[in-house]
């Protein structure tokens, strides 16, 4: 089955499964199979922001006054965030668009990936503002062993899915051999790969990102690098939305209501999915050791961050119906919540940052009883 940018058949997209059905024809949103994705798109659009809105001049001074080990923590964290968003800015489009069958889901992928490109732009904005030579940071991302190690597990499943999709698109279903390599592009294997890729994306957005957010906010809790934290707060707000989207897809697939075959695939892939969570949690803990290897910052050290990894991993696993992997514990970083609240950003409502602000929204509901209190 080759991919077509416009499938001229007159099929009803609401009868298609989310993935591997007929490719999408008209991008129409008047009737939707899953209105939740349309709502996510609208929410994401209402969140629109630009990094240049945030002033970073004080951050530059703060950064220059930091001791060396804190600079190491700050820059390493920023490098890791840059890597994660470089991946997320392109991969959902490349991996999922060729196989998606619902217009609202297709547009959600595009909206999602677009917002990640804003995140990438904001890292450049931050780095440009706090140090004189941005290349020193960017060039070291691909040479930092600790980052490259994790990049591999972040991207492995994406790459494997994209490879299978490509073979599938040219040669169709079946087992194909090229230059001595065997590609199993049976529908079953494609779907398994898709399911596991979505799990790994969920781990990326729901665990890996949050560990890095904790570091960014820890600085701002001490009233330094506050501009940076303000940007990360906006990024965190977007990421919470993305992970909700991914959780929806995974739960829909696992329920078997969308495509019955996925129910058994989800059961079959259970162990692999758990392994993805376990690997990510371990890598994040190792990263915490590396981050604080030269010294801690007030309020955060390798142990507390590792506890947070365990806590957040449990929360995310529960959301997907898995049992908890680590002993239950309270949130070791209770102040994180204040940074993750979406609409207490103190701005005038006509500015774009307040999430609840939508143009032209009025309450039209008038009830008979509304004027009961009035005496004429």
């Amino acid at each position: 089955m080759s991919y077509s940018t416009f499938n001229p058949s007159s099929h009803d997209a609401t009868l298609e499964p989310m993935f591997f059905g007929r490719s999408v024809n008209v991008a129409r949103y008047d009737k939707q199979k899953y209105p939740i994705f349309e709502k996510l798109i609208e929410k994401q659009l209402s969140f629109f922001w630009r990094p240049e809105e945030v002033d970073l001049s004080k951050d530059r001074k703060d950064f220059m006054n930091m001791p060396e080990h804190e600079k190491h923590i700050f820059l390493s964290n920023l490098k890791y965030q840059t890597l994660l968003d470089s991946v997320q800015g392109r991969s959902p489009n490349v991996a999922f668009l060729p196989i998606v069958s619902l217009p609202e889901l297709e547009t959600w992928f595009e909206t999602w990936a677009f917002s990640e490109t804003i995140h990438s732009r904001s890292y450049t904005h931050i780095i440009r503002n706090i140090i004189t030579e941005p290349s020193e940071v960017f060039d070291k991302i691909v040479t930092n062993e600790e980052i490259v190690k994790r990049a591999d597990s972040v991207t492995r499943l994406y790459d494997e899915l994209i490879e299978l999709n490509t073979v599938f698109s040219i040669h169709g279903e079946g087992v194909h051999t090229f230059k001595g390599r065997v590609y199993d592009v049976s529908m079953r294997n494609l779907k398994k790969k898709l399911y596991l890729t979505l799990v790994s994306v969920n781990v990326l957005e729901a665990i890996r990102f949050y560990v890095s957010f904790a570091c960014s906010f820890a600085f701002a809790e001490r009233a330094i690098m506050e501009g940076n934290a303000k940007i990360i707060k906006l990024i965190a707000r977007d990421e919470a939305l993305h992970l909700t989207g991914t959780q929806h897809m995974l739960n829909l697939l696992a329920s078997g209501n969308d495509d019955p075959e996925f129910k058994s695939i989800a059961q079959e892939c259970r162990e692999d999915a758990l392994a993805i969570f376990a690997e990510a949690a371990q890598q994040e803990k190792d990263w915490a050791q590396y981050l604080f290897s030269e010294g801690s910052i007030i309020g955060l050290n390798a142990q507390i961050l590792s506890d947070y990894v365990e806590y957040i991993t449990n929360v995310r696993m529960k959301a997907l119906g898995f049992s908890e992997m680590f002993p239950a514990k309270q949130n070791p970083l209770p102040w994180m919540n204040a940074w993750l609240v979406s609409d207490n950003v103190q701005v005038a409502p006509q500015e774009s940052e307040i999430s609840s602000y939508l143009v032209g929204q009025i309450d039209n509901e008038v009830d008979d009883g509304d004027f009961d209190d009035f005496d004429f």
Partner: protein
Amino acid sequence: MSIPRIKVNHFHTFYYQYEPTVLDSLEAQEIPAPYSCRGGYCGCCKVRLIDGEVEYVQESLVDLNDDEILTCCCVPKTHIEIELPED
């Protein structure tokens, strides 16, 4: 209709004081209700609605079972009984 009463299992019962959401009422009562985004999409404030009805004041974008509500998105419509998640 009379002022709705909110019963929180393992905590206490109180009258709803017309706070913007159930979550705000729980906080006003110093009940440790979980939350994160307060925008209806992270799912952290999910609680079990055992009895009564709520009215949504903000759209919820999270997968919910029939007996679950997001406290950041609704206000009580009748007397309600809820239970916070364990841990």
